[in-house]
Amino acid sequence: MLSNDLTTLLREHNLGGEPAVLPPTVSFGSITSGDIGIHGTTVIAVKFNGGVINVGDRRATANFAIMYDKAEKVLPIDDLTLLAISGSFARALEVVRYLKTQFKYFERSQLQPMSLDGKLSELARVIAAGVPAALQGIGGVLPILSTFDPTINEGRIFFYDGMGARFESTEFGAAGSGSTQIRGVFEYIVKTKGPFHLMSREDALREALFLLDIAADLDAATGGWSKHLPLAKTITADGIADVTKDELQAIVEDIDRLHNR
């Protein structure tokens, strides 16, 4: 058998369901029937002059209960792809696990990496496969995919709607319940301080953390940083790197000082 597709492989061995291999999961988000656009989280992706920065809060909720305050919502898929996840946490982790294996399986068996377009379609398929579950309120996922495109030497950000439609954003992307509250702030930053893709890494990171702070203020399901630092990763031509705790701590303290906290 010369297969290049993990789903086919799993199906042949009677593993996983149809059509996506992902099992339905218990929701950690605040998704209700017919309302698949709302998720207890805020994840933010902004460009900077060397690539893309992703930041995410660390709160996982189930309705009004805060279940977990060390959730990791910015996850590497491969050396050049980051996924910032919102929605059902359990299902999102399965999506990440599936995509990771799928992309690696393709690359290893076909001896060439999957194209960016191929990866984006794969993600769209996974989201579309989750629509029935999302409509029942158990397990919708809305991710933002960030990548570094070596062919144009620039970072790229893609976001999706609940049905799996894909959009490319020129400057920024956000997902989760806090994202709607801060949409206008993104526009304000671009109009007053210039586009994100021209900012230095430090400036862009600072703006992203400001945005996250505002989201935590305005959205009950988005965690602030009083207990745990947010999670931030960058993606550049050299691949994915963590923003160190020290660097985050310094900016966070600075923002707190500005607010007299």
Binding site: S3, L6, L9, L10, H13, D79, T101, K104, Y105, A241
Partner: protein
């Protein structure tokens, strides 16, 4: 036709001889474990020979191209199915070789009526957390396999493999990357010289030369046409993928000293 145990043994012997005959010319494969990772090195003419199987497993082989490919694809399929279904931690070379790959090879080899035996001698290298946990498996066309630590060799003849093992004595977890490359290349040359000998007694065109000078000459000649290929598994990398494939360009520093007259 009367069929008795004698015929069976005789048939097996013939099969063994014919497979060994076809393996004799194969360009040797050397695996070395070092402080910061593990390499598999070979010199090839056309087709790529060193492959990534899974997160911590690499593979190379001598033999019939389609058999080499069949084992590669089979190993990748089993590893990814198991890694997704259970956990990447459960994918080990031990399970892969002894439960998934060895039994069918043994079955094909023993089936003197219906099947052509596979023409392959394969090497798997598995990266551990420390050099002591690195492990190599050598899998034979008849399903036999052996496990080793520190280094492993695959060559066209038993004599070639003995020479290579001798050449690699003393490599350890303290060996550095450059040193490991050098030792692997020397072992490759030793094996290559040995498998070219027409008779084990040394009564051939290479008989008059001193071993070291001979190995150097063979290496120099081979590097004019052949391509040195090295697969590396990096122990300490932060990248999502631990595997790198090095070609002639990456190895210029190492090879330049061997290319000179």
């Amino acid at each position: 036709m009367v069929f008795n145990p004698f015929d069976y043994n005789e048939a097996n012997r013939h099969r063994r001889d014919s497979v060994e005959d076809r393996l004799r010319e194969g360009s040797p494969v050397v695996g070395v474990s070092f402080d910061k990772g593990l390499i598999i090195l070979t010199v090839r003419r056309s087709q790529r020979k060193v492959f990534e199987i899974y997160d911590r497993i690499i593979y190379s082989a001598i033999g019939n191209q389609s058999d080499v490919e069949a084992i590669r694809v089979g190993a990748i399929d089993v590893a990814h199915k198991e890694g997704f279904d259970r956990s990447p931690d459960d994918v080990t070379t031990h399970r892969l070789v002894s439960f998934s790959l060895s039994p069918p090879l043994k079955r094909i080899f023993g089936d003197t009526f219906n099947a052509q035996p596979a023409v392959i001698r394969a090497m798997f290298g598995e990266l551990g957390k420390t050099p002591e946990q690195d492990v190599f498996y050598v899998l034979n066309y008849d399903g036999e396999f052996s496990q080793s630590h520190g280094f492993a060799v695959v060559g066209g003849t038993q004599e070639a493999e003995d020479k290579m093992s001798l050449s690699l004595m003393g490599v350890s977890g303290k060996t550095t990357f450059n040193h490991a490359l050098e030792r692997a290349l020397q072992a490759w040359a030793a094996g290559s010289v040995e498998s070219r000998r027409k008779s084990p007694s040394g009564d051939d065109e290479y008989a008059s030369e001193d071993e070291d000078a001979l190995a150097k000459r063979v290496l120099r000649d081979e590097l004019k046409q052949g391509i040195v290929e090295v697969g590396v598994l990096d122990r300490d990398t932060n990248r999502e993928s631990k595997f790198r494939l090095l070609g002639t360009v990456d190895l210029e520093g190492l090879l330049s000293s061997y290319k000179q007259e």
